[in-house]
């Protein structure tokens, strides 16, 4: 194909879109052509939203979530329980937990998990900051809610270790059979975990 067949501006947008996670060359072309077919105002709106993004959002200096204010709305909310802190890997995990509507405490975003193979040690994620918060006297319980993946578990174990001398109760999310799942389809590790952590009926 002669190089000039795709207009430069289109090619450039396709290139930029392929940087996003899960967007390959084909999806990027489809998205870019779709944007081109729609009114220019929509492309401008999207561009403005992108420009605004980093300009108006920073990290909350307390829990390190993305926020337009510092401290963030959650940390500043007097109705939330400041003695309970949930530790998650990423801001997206915070949103998932907020959606459940069952957690009324504060958060602490690690911004990653320990992954020596990718050069991510405790210094690259917000561990020291968590340790400092754990010693501030307000926090009574730290609920570690990292993913139940290998790096997530490793990070959880590391945090438990780092927090053992702090005057806080360290807890973990329960592990077991997902709601609505047929037992015979559960993988053996999940099933083993569910058996180990079995609970008393009342």
């Amino acid at each position: 194909m002669s190089p000039q067949v795709i207009p430069h501006a289109l090619e450039r947008l396709i290139q930029d879109l392929t940087r996003l996670p899960g967007i390959g060359k084909k999806t990027a072309s489809r998205l870019a052509l779709n944007i081109l077919r729609r009114p220019p105002a929509e492309a401008r709106e999207l561009a403005t939203a992108l420009m605004e993004l980093h300009r108006s959002i920073q990290l909350c200096s307390c829990c390190f979530t993305f926020s337009e204010s510092d401290p963030c709305a959650l940390c500043a909310d007097p109705k939330r329980d400041a003695s309970l802190v949930c530790v998650v890997e990423q801001p997206g995990d915070l949103l998932a937990i907020e959606k459940t509507g069952t957690f009324q405490g504060h958060y602490h975003i690690l911004h990653g998990v320990l992954s020596p193979i990718d050069g991510i040690g405790p210094g690259e994620i917000k561990v020291t900051e968590l340790e400092a918060r754990a010693g501030n006297g307000t926090i009574k319980e730290i609920l570690i809610a990292t993913s139940s993946t290998v790096p997530g578990e490793a990070t959880a174990n590391y945090l438990i270790d780092r927090l053992q001398n702090k005057p806080v109760l360290v807890t973990r999310l329960a592990c077991g059979i997902p709601m609505g799942m047929d037992i015979k389809y559960a993988d053996k590790h999940t099933l083993a975990r569910a058996i180990e952590s079995r609970s008393k009926t009342t």
Copy 2:
């Protein structure tokens, strides 16, 4: 979830992203959070590419493809055969055909297919423009390359009708078994078409 949990600027980007085809609320959140985690320069680059898109690209007045120049690079290329015109639904189809490297003629982009249910009649796509081109004396063959879907076929049949009094040969893409496909997995319509259109061995 309290509404202020998601910063407004993030919420707005998520909203704008969900307008794109195949991007739901979850994917949009994932993309937006990913953009937020990356350097601000990348978001700015993407925004600039979006701003530039409609500013620098228009429709070629001859073949109606998206182009930075008018006529487009393909229509202006003296090495291409102006007597053969391939009719496609969208600019993306042009790119797909160009990738094969086997077509050296010009194009005509319809910008849609006939779809009465969506209110798309001949006036909404570039049919009159094709008719005008067919009578200009340069074009000897018009290859109709609409999709082999119901609306694509209907559009092709309509075009064949409209072009029958023009001094041009009207051809269609061959229909048959895709390359590398096992006969037993071909659907019966494709197989029937392949039998009807069987070709002589040399």
